[in-house]
Symmetry: C2
Subunit: 146 residues, 2 copies
């Protein structure tokens, strides 16, 4: 990439494509991905921008790698382990290893940066037992989308 | 850190201190540092927030590690190698290895995120020969602060 990449319209950058969140699946909705920095030059991490439209959500998943997230557009909510938090601009979210998490946008879009290691494991989705455990809490049961 | 860290006032976060840019030196001015994410849980990178007040500047320096930067507040300019670019909100900047670079804020503050490997080398400042080479270009000569 060039040394300087301009934002050409809100949250769109020159030369950076808007990609599907994941290639296949019906366990997410209304979410796109843009890869802002893809490691290189010895840099061990990627920086991605995800945007969820109102009513959309990311996968309910967990994995060994950690996420470091900063909200940069709109608002929304996130489930991390057993906590549901309201998210506002510039809030930070840390998703520890093997922790169930899911992001949702409600009345506004939710755009966030996510820093993640270039080398990382594949996310795991909840099986029936994990879903039952999550749904034991009625607030979480109402929140999650699968 | 907690899983969710709120922004408590613009570009200030609960529990995250505002630190000096560097511990000692007179080769920078009007710049602060906040460490938003400090690796951990296997994450190889840090995410820092730097803010330069109008008239301020970061060190003119280079190093082996790469920087991946996103402007999130205000505007400014950056020197990367032999290019001076105007920076606006959400612009991205990649600083390759061993490339002289310096950020400056002009009429507005300049706030930016910087993703960087946790394990990295110490920056190098230009010696007389490097400064003379940089100053061979009158535009760069006018821009740089040491």
């Amino acid at each position: 990439m060039s040394a300087h990449v301009r934002q050409v319209s809100p949250f769109r950058w020159e030369g950076i494509g808007v990609a599907p969140y994941k290639h296949v699946g019906t366990h997410f909705a209304g979410i796109t991905r843009q890869l802002l920095f893809d490691g290189g030059d010895g840099l061990s991490c990627q920086l991605r921008y995800f945007e969820i439209e109102p009513g959309g959500y990311s996968s309910l998943e967990r994995h060994h790698h950690a996420h470091a997230i900063m909200v940069v557009r709109g608002s929304g909510r996130v489930l991390i382990a057993e906590e549901i938090a309201d998210l506002a601009i510039n809030d930070l979210v840390r998703v520890p290893p093997l922790t169930w998490h899911q992001f949702r946008a409600d009345g506004a879009p939710l755009g966030f940066l996510c820093m993640v290691d270039c080398a990382r494991d594949i996310p795991e989705r909840p099986d029936a037992a994990a879903l039952a455990a999550l749904r034991a809490d009625p607030v979480i049961a109402e929140f999650i989308r699968i």
